[in-house]
Symmetry: C2
Subunit: 194 residues, 2 copies
Amino acid sequence: MSEVEPERTEQRILDAAEELFYGRGIQSVGMDAIRTASGVPLKRLYQTFPSKDTLVEAYLRRRDARWLRDLAQYSDTYDSPEQRILAVFDWLFLWFSEQGFRGCGFINSFGELGATSQTVADIAKAHKDAFRRYLADLVAAADAPAWLTDQLVLLAEGAMTTAAISGTPEPARHAKDAARTLLRAAHAEVVTAA
Amino acid sequence: MSEVEPERTEQRILDAAEELFYGRGIQSVGMDAIRTASGVPLKRLYQTFPSKDTLVEAYLRRRDARWLRDLAQYSDTYDSPEQRILAVFDWLFLWFSEQGFRGCGFINSFGELGATSQTVADIAKAHKDAFRRYLADLVAAADAPAWLTDQLVLLAEGAMTTAAISGTPEPARHAKDAARTLLRAAHAEVVTAA
DNA sequence: CATTCTCGAAAACGGTCGTTCTCCTACGGT
DNA sequence: ACCGTAGGAGAACGACCGTTTTCGAGAATG
């Protein structure tokens, strides 16, 4: 009879898949490596996720949700919208400093599989849209013009890839500096227009 | 007897490799697809590039050189350093608008193979360093503080990935707007400090 | 105790990939 | 005309990957 652990095994598989897919790239990781890392036998693995594609999709969806949740959890501890905007870049700095950081998992999977798999491309796009919406809400709360959102997104995205390739978390600081400048300029424009 | 075409075949191979590697990702493209696309028989292909790894390396190195050359060629037609800085983002807009644009080939290959191949990781890093140096020279020529370089790099990198995933060239315009603001702020700071 | 069922370990299968090898054609020199 | 060679087309090879199947050990059931 099936034990209590159907959910446990799913988590163990996803934990192993995330570490491997994110750390080495998706195509470089075989199902056998996930079996070994998770300790879940191949049979159960395929009972839980009927194909590698569905496992990749589940990996991306879980990471998407957790990433945005963690970001919001950090940023929302600050009081003013302006502080929350700048806190996003502090959170990026912490993320970039984590051992094993290798850039944005969605940019990476888009580059690797976006041309081959519409699903992967869609998930990456949805993830970036969600991030953009989060920033847009902060910008609106700060009474800043909507176009500031687009600029902040670029700084954050640029910081992710630059931090990944250069191997240092410093781009987060540079992005925060630039964000502060752009925020001030946006506010000044609102005042001028009034 | 060997014909005049040893260089011709190398170009044909690299042309096919670039289109396929960039368009579909490196691991998704087999040597057979490159053979078909280039029309160069497998035997000659391996005489020219003794392994797929060396072909990948040659693809990245040629793209690196041409990318920076094209950028500089466009930007350097402008007179003032400030105009040249902003022209970088105009050039990005043209690039993003090309049919088949799929983001930065170096970010993509880094995400796909950076963890597996030190060579790929090094080439991506060298490419981004070269881009940064180009911007740093423009910033210095504009008498702007050096830290402006870091901010402009983030805008450009962010625009590349955002344009790729969103599928529109608009991020280049947003990046240019932000760059103009940051440039003004940087100049203002220099004046204030004086 | 015998039987059935469950489940994990690993072999097996079909396909693909990078790379090499075979064969056949066509041409150059004598 | 003959032979030697170069070169191209594609078969072949070994490795690996995603997925399925086999097999045997052990628990549950009557």
